[in-house]
Symmetry: C2
Subunit: 220 residues, 2 copies
């Protein structure tokens, strides 16, 4: 079917199942069980589990199964703190470098899509465009390790957002912030890019942590 290995297939499948909620946070799954579900032997499942454990998506607990990592409010506070610092750095670095119009256009179009989505009240589309903006921003920061760490952290945010997206206030401020960050990068102004993005993330953090705390989503 493809040149991909069973381990890769297992990683993709498990990720999909985790993000879709098919494997709920906090639930345990035996290796044999997952192997059966995925139609392969335990070996590639074990290896996939090790990879996902390194990404913080599961915990391997001998004899109790592979546990889908829960995401508590405290976890989200940690995660946002890291995201805030690293994305702000990426924004600053992006503003230092010289970028083609094509690169900047990707950012601009993400912003545009967020505006339309907001006007149409389509939060799902807004979240997708928001992700796209942040992913592109980090890419422009040109630090492969940073991109990797950020993407692991953002995966956790995505999981939490599935729950909170429809409870949070409309993200109008968010769009404004993004536009300012974009401008700062276009203007080659690292300090502004850094500070604006940092404030943006900190606000998001406080809002989300308060939400999670209030509703006590201890399992996600």
């Amino acid at each position: 079917m493809g040149a991909t290995t069973n381990v890769e297939r297992a990683v993709s499948a498990l990720r999909r199942m985790i993000f879709s909620g098919e494997l709920p946070p906090g639930s345990d799954h035996l290796e044999t069980e997952l192997a059966d579900t995925l139609g392969m032997s335990r070996t590639p499942v074990r290896e996939a589990a090790l990879i996902l454990q390194a990404q913080g998506l599961v915990e391997l607990r001998p004899r109790r199964g592979i546990r889908i990592a829960p995401v508590s409010a405290a976890d989200m506070a940690e995660i946002y703190d890291i995201l805030t610092e690293l994305e702000s750095l990426a924004a600053a670095r992006a503003a230092e470098a010289e970028y083609s119009k094509a690169d900047l256009d990707t950012l601009a179009s993400a912003i545009k899509d967020m505006d339309s989505a907001l006007a149409a009240d389509d939060l799902r589309a807004w979240a997708e465009a928001d992700d796209r903006f942040h992913r592109e921003l980090v890419r422009l920061g040109r630090n492969a390790r940073l991109s990797m760490v950020v993407s692991v952290m953002r995966d956790q945010v995505r999981r939490a957002r599935a729950t909170t997206l429809y409870m949070r206030p409309k993200p109008t401020q968010s769009n404004e912030d993004h536009r300012k960050v974009y401008q700062a990068i276009a203007n080659r102004d690292p300090t502004t890019a850094h500070d604006v993005h940092r404030a943006h993330r900190q606000a998001a953090r406080d809002m989300l942590v308060a939400l999670l705390d209030k509703h006590q989503f201890y399992g996600l």
Copy 2:
């Protein structure tokens, strides 16, 4: 012999061999080869390799063996950028929290040890105390994920430092910086803690990258 598994033993042994230089950066090693060396089968070696890959210490290249990750000057620039941001955040968070005298004493004794080591011209001891200071600083920041990311990054720094320790200028400024950070934490002054530590790390970054660049340590 112990309640530990072969995978854990393999991870420890390989880490030791990597840090000691017994497995040099850029070298390739077949799974069977390492399994023989470690006196176990391929299975735990493969699992250990996956774990070490997630930590950036090796790369798994199908059919070419397990490669010990090289650390180039460009890599170190990335790594220090990340360390700078995350440790500065930890310093700020540490200064926000209330700490017992015992906690602060660990920091203080690390600083003292660095002073003595410097006076005795014992760079090895200095490096050890420096590590201890930074590790404790991050611990006081109380962010488990941040600690983990930082420790992965610092592992890489340790590898590069093995080479550069005796080429760099005497770290007198370093000790002064640490003392200021310590004071800021004791004074509950997050902003100062953050900014001083940030400047400290940036200086270290520039020095190290220049050294590595100049001597073109592409393999480490």
